[in-house]
Symmetry: D2
Amino acid sequence: MTTSDSEKRTGIWLIGARGSVATTAIAGAAALRDRLIPPTGCVTESPELLDEGMPGFDDLVFAGHDITETPLPKRAEQLEVAGILPRGVRELVHTDLAATDQRIRRGVAPEEAGHDQLETAERLIEQLCSFRELYGLSRVVVINVAATEAHPPARSEHTGLEELEHGLRRSDPDGGTVLPPSSLYAYAALRAGCPYADFTPSTGVRLPALDELAARRGVPYAGSDGKTGETLVKSALLPMFSSRALHVHSWSGTNLLGGGDGRNLADPDNVTSKTTSKQRAVHESLGYPVDGEVHIDYVSALGEWKTAWDHISFEGFLGNRMTMQFTWQGCDSALAAPLVLDLARLLARAHERGHSGPLPQLGFFFKDPVASDEHRLVAQFETLRTFVRRLREEQ
Amino acid sequence: MTTSDSEKRTGIWLIGARGSVATTAIAGAAALRDRLIPPTGCVTESPELLDEGMPGFDDLVFAGHDITETPLPKRAEQLEVAGILPRGVRELVHTDLAATDQRIRRGVAPEEAGHDQLETAERLIEQLCSFRELYGLSRVVVINVAATEAHPPARSEHTGLEELEHGLRRSDPDGGTVLPPSSLYAYAALRAGCPYADFTPSTGVRLPALDELAARRGVPYAGSDGKTGETLVKSALLPMFSSRALHVHSWSGTNLLGGGDGRNLADPDNVTSKTTSKQRAVHESLGYPVDGEVHIDYVSALGEWKTAWDHISFEGFLGNRMTMQFTWQGCDSALAAPLVLDLARLLARAHERGHSGPLPQLGFFFKDPVASDEHRLVAQFETLRTFVRRLREEQ
Amino acid sequence: MTTSDSEKRTGIWLIGARGSVATTAIAGAAALRDRLIPPTGCVTESPELLDEGMPGFDDLVFAGHDITETPLPKRAEQLEVAGILPRGVRELVHTDLAATDQRIRRGVAPEEAGHDQLETAERLIEQLCSFRELYGLSRVVVINVAATEAHPPARSEHTGLEELEHGLRRSDPDGGTVLPPSSLYAYAALRAGCPYADFTPSTGVRLPALDELAARRGVPYAGSDGKTGETLVKSALLPMFSSRALHVHSWSGTNLLGGGDGRNLADPDNVTSKTTSKQRAVHESLGYPVDGEVHIDYVSALGEWKTAWDHISFEGFLGNRMTMQFTWQGCDSALAAPLVLDLARLLARAHERGHSGPLPQLGFFFKDPVASDEHRLVAQFETLRTFVRRLREEQ
Amino acid sequence: MTTSDSEKRTGIWLIGARGSVATTAIAGAAALRDRLIPPTGCVTESPELLDEGMPGFDDLVFAGHDITETPLPKRAEQLEVAGILPRGVRELVHTDLAATDQRIRRGVAPEEAGHDQLETAERLIEQLCSFRELYGLSRVVVINVAATEAHPPARSEHTGLEELEHGLRRSDPDGGTVLPPSSLYAYAALRAGCPYADFTPSTGVRLPALDELAARRGVPYAGSDGKTGETLVKSALLPMFSSRALHVHSWSGTNLLGGGDGRNLADPDNVTSKTTSKQRAVHESLGYPVDGEVHIDYVSALGEWKTAWDHISFEGFLGNRMTMQFTWQGCDSALAAPLVLDLARLLARAHERGHSGPLPQLGFFFKDPVASDEHRLVAQFETLRTFVRRLREEQ
Ligand SMILES: NC(=O)c1ccc[n+]([C@@H]2O[C@H](COP(=O)([O-])OP(=O)(O)OC[C@H]3O[C@@H](n4cnc5c(N)ncnc54)[C@H](O)[C@@H]3O)[C@@H](O)[C@H]2O)c1
Ligand SMILES: NC(=O)c1ccc[n+]([C@@H]2O[C@H](COP(=O)([O-])OP(=O)(O)OC[C@H]3O[C@@H](n4cnc5c(N)ncnc54)[C@H](O)[C@@H]3O)[C@@H](O)[C@H]2O)c1
Ligand SMILES: NC(=O)c1ccc[n+]([C@@H]2O[C@H](COP(=O)([O-])OP(=O)(O)OC[C@H]3O[C@@H](n4cnc5c(N)ncnc54)[C@H](O)[C@@H]3O)[C@@H](O)[C@H]2O)c1
Ligand SMILES: NC(=O)c1ccc[n+]([C@@H]2O[C@H](COP(=O)([O-])OP(=O)(O)OC[C@H]3O[C@@H](n4cnc5c(N)ncnc54)[C@H](O)[C@@H]3O)[C@@H](O)[C@H]2O)c1
Ligand code: NA
Ligand code: NA
């Protein structure tokens, strides 16, 4: 069976479509399509993961939700000033950005999320479906790259699909909110039959009720929280300590970042979902408790750049105490954007091949992988490689 | 079939038996046997690699060659002052050190190596055999932890066993030396039927002629250059860059160290084998040339401690330039000693199970692994794990 | 006029006399007296500051207050295990520690401070006076090296001596506490005519009422918060940025420390006085607001060692953004103890020469110097040098 | 007395006028004149050093020597790509760069320097004098910002002016070169009555013969080797160790840099003058020998940016061993360029006020200050401040 071009036309619907990550991904995809840049940072373009069956860069159509009005071309200019988008590239993809901006719809802000959740969900579903239809897309992958939310309190409606749909239908007598925005987006995506991924640590699809929905609708999902900086390095280094039987006493981290993500994480409520997600790897990889805090500080002067310093104290033979430190200076959006494209292509392909429910095979991309407690980057990569090979062979 | 205790009694013959690594290994093995310390840093004691069939810590008898006269108990005191051997431990293993010191024989210094190499080899073989016999050992594993040598010029005698034995028999008309000391030790070990490992970057067993000898004698060997510090971290980090399709432009390293190893590596001839071995991982893992130098500086104030600083510049999506730096502050002998014990146990076991020739499965331990170009630590660990499982099952 | 030996016998009364800093200072003074160690870290022994008129190490008698019962010799053993006190030294000064321990009196814990403050003060004064008399001391210098307190709320009693003494006399109708323990100790010291220094960021002598008392009693005082680590480096680096007209955008710091001080500063109330004191230098030296947070994390595995990482982003010519980072790995008590001895000697000498009130000339020693906004270390050193020269000449 | 505008018109003649530092200085001066940028990094614009009597940015006319043909506007474009010159600024100063480029004359390459040195010198002098006359300049300051040369062997002609002029007049029978290019430029400058500064570690004016000439011609000079990165930080940190009586055991440094300076210093001959100059501060400030090497590695990927890592091991009270590390990531040309402007203004003013010979008061700017062994940055700044105040008052 050959895949005709029209069968590959794929929509990428980004929640937070005017943010730094989204803008970089949209601009980057256009630049890749036109071969203005090499696919550095794009793992689905590496020889080991290449799969002709995945949608190509000229098969992608972007759209999304956001709650800001700043248009994409304007955001792209800001990213040029910040040193992330080369001027030449930005100018050449201007038309793509302007066209995509027309396809961005008004999303749901946290403070609005409480009202008429079912009605809101129907609107979101309807938007996803019209997009798919209008552009004749074989499928639409939804990826959440919106600002990180605070983790909501647990509710009985989260435990099963029936409870959830019952809860969404009636208004909460206590005025509470059944689903945070991220989960409302995920609910809509799954109901519309769209593969879905949480690139943020927000709750999103990570509720039993939504897992049930994904299974019922036969849709695959992935998450959470893109692994791009400090945690990426952690997941590379942790197996060194464990496989060498070195005992880690403490692992402390300080992250300095500016940009919108930094400003949002300066809010103590929002940062908790992030720091929790960042420490998961340490505890799960080592299997014993480790001292040390993770700080995330907003430093506006750093712009879109992040600096992370980690300090690890460990013990070797005969009780000898040693330390390792690292400093990571990365451009977060440039690290995240190609992974967003990778995820969209992989989810589209997995959906096509009939995969549904959580995809632990995509743990390579995430700080807090669904349905998996493997955090070792190399092992995750091997799993991903095997997964892609099977996708290819199944054909 | 059960392995009777006497069948497990194993000799460990250390070349450089009075050096820091050797002294720490000998003292540590006695402390482990008496349960004075936990097996931190000893990978063959980790649940994933444990194999009851390997010799236990009470099955080991140490001996070796060295060219210094400073007795082991004295070296141990120096290591106590340097903060590596806890006083309590040193006092409790004093008797073991004194006893082992009696079994250390005069080795071959580089400047003496040229004379009557065959005669010298016969003496070394005879020493290994008497040790095995006298102590009723099922086998003797020889490990080279002597000072790093300069790499010798290539010679035709190195290319095959016949050429080598011919060359050793007659005296070189040009006064040259057929084998450097490390290779002479390796030759003797193999001829005596002893499994052998190069923990140093010296030539040792890494000659076609000796590979042939190992095959003929049915003896396994491993090497080279224990991976304990900067290169260990490199081999954990390199797959992060490659699997994420990030392009590494430069990888620069500065190593500051005191101790005997530091003093020896301050000699520009000797350091070359080390820096070559240290850069192998970068080039082979990435598959493209990378800028950057590796410096090894002798800083006496650091004593037995090493500080390595590495600086990596790399490129991500859209040409964004990023950097990573790390500082590693480790106690080299405490990192190396448990691996020496691990290697001895694994080689003994592999020999028992009939393995011979190079063991690429032990690449996990080395900067410059024999018969392998896999440098990714996690992949090496998986290979080792499979190897140990098979050793266990073969039984 | 010659200073007879008896005139130089000087008491050093330490608040927190069984803490790490105090124990290291007491043990170190005995070791210096017996010439067991060189005076590394002791600035009053450097050729530039040496003043024969200051009390020598054999003129010092130690005593103090604490609220723990752990005796000094026991604390010294703990500091030996922590790697701060060399075993040889500890054994040789054991008798001094045991004798000093006999002179330590029960202090005032924060939770007890509220009761009968005047009565408590009289007891403290009486203890100081008996010590001076019993040992025939020409004077007693009181130095606060107790655990850092939370900063108390401002009160009208703090504004003048009359108000204070009136407030201490009657019990607070609202059950509040007029003075925190550190200020109660300072009040007692000044009333007993003892020169006083705050080596901690606790309130101590830094109240208008106590300043008035010091003037009236003709007693000099100094403070606050010994400058030994991150802030010491800051005060060396800040003038580099300002004198070169480089614009600092952010200065972020993370301090990892174990020990008693670390445990105490893990309490968010106590840490505030510390972080405030730590940021003073940045803002006052540069004269404009600078971004960045200071974190103090308790990491028990680090024991008595502290690691500080600072990240500075700054701007140069043509808007170029640059960064500097430093890591400081120091042993806090070993840095602090000799300064405690220096302060005691300098305060004793200044008192002898008739100085009273705040001594801004000792700003060199402090994060938060009294009566001074000069933070540049080199300038502070020049001031101190001039001060010592005058003390010498006045004779 | 007021200084009329015409009296202030000042020439700045740069040796290496098309290099990174020169181009940045010329572009920056035009931008400052037109108030396109703030004077960040320019110390003569700070309130503490401002002197109305110095030439203003609209009083400066640039010219110089170079041996490359790449015109200034082209170099400026390269510096824009490297991220040093903001595009806006570069476009706005284009005309100035093009005009200055017309005033750049062919210099003397090291390989040409041997021929007819007196004749060459006469040509250089003539070029300086015509420039001064043609533009009606009150004076011309010559600053060497050319590529660092290898240090030449000592020669008897260097020891006195008479010997030198004698030597220049006749051709060397052995074919040797009397003066390296940098000294030939310095000789010409002094003979033309121009104040002179060596911003490089090249020999330049640092010969007894040239000192004599400066005195005779009544011209002030300054040098050597601009203090902008690692050594700047060293000179800020060294007094911390010395004033606190901490004993420094080792100070190791690795400098990674790209750019033309990096490429030139990759030559082992040239780098020696640099590393020598870099270590001067450590030895002279501490007064005792300190271990540690300085490496300068060319890493082309770093472009015009430099990363320096320094590691310092030191000892405190009771023999405690501590360490400090720092990483400096700076843009060398942006750090150097404003200092070149500062030096030109200060030398012009000093010349006007009648100063001649070496100016140790400008030690603040140099790694290897003439006629001074003070390296403490704060002390150097105080000296400079006093010097500027006097210049102002003398009026
Ligand atoms: N960049 C990385 O390396 C990386 C890694 C892991 C996770 N993330 C996560 O990705 C997300 C995006 O990061 P960014 O740097 O692009 O941030 P950003 O602040 O630039 O963009 C976030 C966008 O989300 C929009 N938004 C906020 N709330 C919304 C809502 N309820 N509905 C729809 N849109 C909403 C904002 O208007 C904004 O345009 C963050 O949550 C971040 O934590 C990023
Ligand atoms: N410690 C580590 O982490 C590590 C890692 C990889 C490799 N190594 C290598 O292990 C070796 C030992 O390191 P160390 O720190 O113990 O050094 P060391 O200097 O303390 O000990 C070396 C010993 O070898 C002896 N020796 C020298 N030449 C000899 C010869 N020809 N024959 C027999 N003995 C000889 C010396 O007398 C000395 O006792 C070095 O080559 C080092 O490069 C160490
Ligand atoms: N070590 C340094 O470099 C440094 C630098 C600046 C300031 N300081 C300050 O010095 C102080 C001492 O540090 P440390 O490391 O010795 O701490 P520590 O915890 O080892 O010792 C503190 C001692 O104070 C005692 N104490 C607590 N409350 C008391 C009270 N109300 N009255 C009397 N004693 C009391 C404790 O029992 C303990 O013995 C801390 O406040 C610290 O912040 C230390
Ligand atoms: N940038 C800094 O922070 C800094 C600090 C201290 C010293 N320096 C020194 O300043 C100098 C210039 O640095 P750069 O980054 O501009 O280097 P660069 O390589 O960009 O420029 C050097 C220029 O000198 C020219 N040149 C070479 N030999 C010459 C000669 N004999 N006569 C005339 N011109 C000659 C070259 O053609 C080139 O244009 C170097 O010596 C460097 O070591 C720079
Ligand atoms: Na924080
Ligand atoms: Na070098």
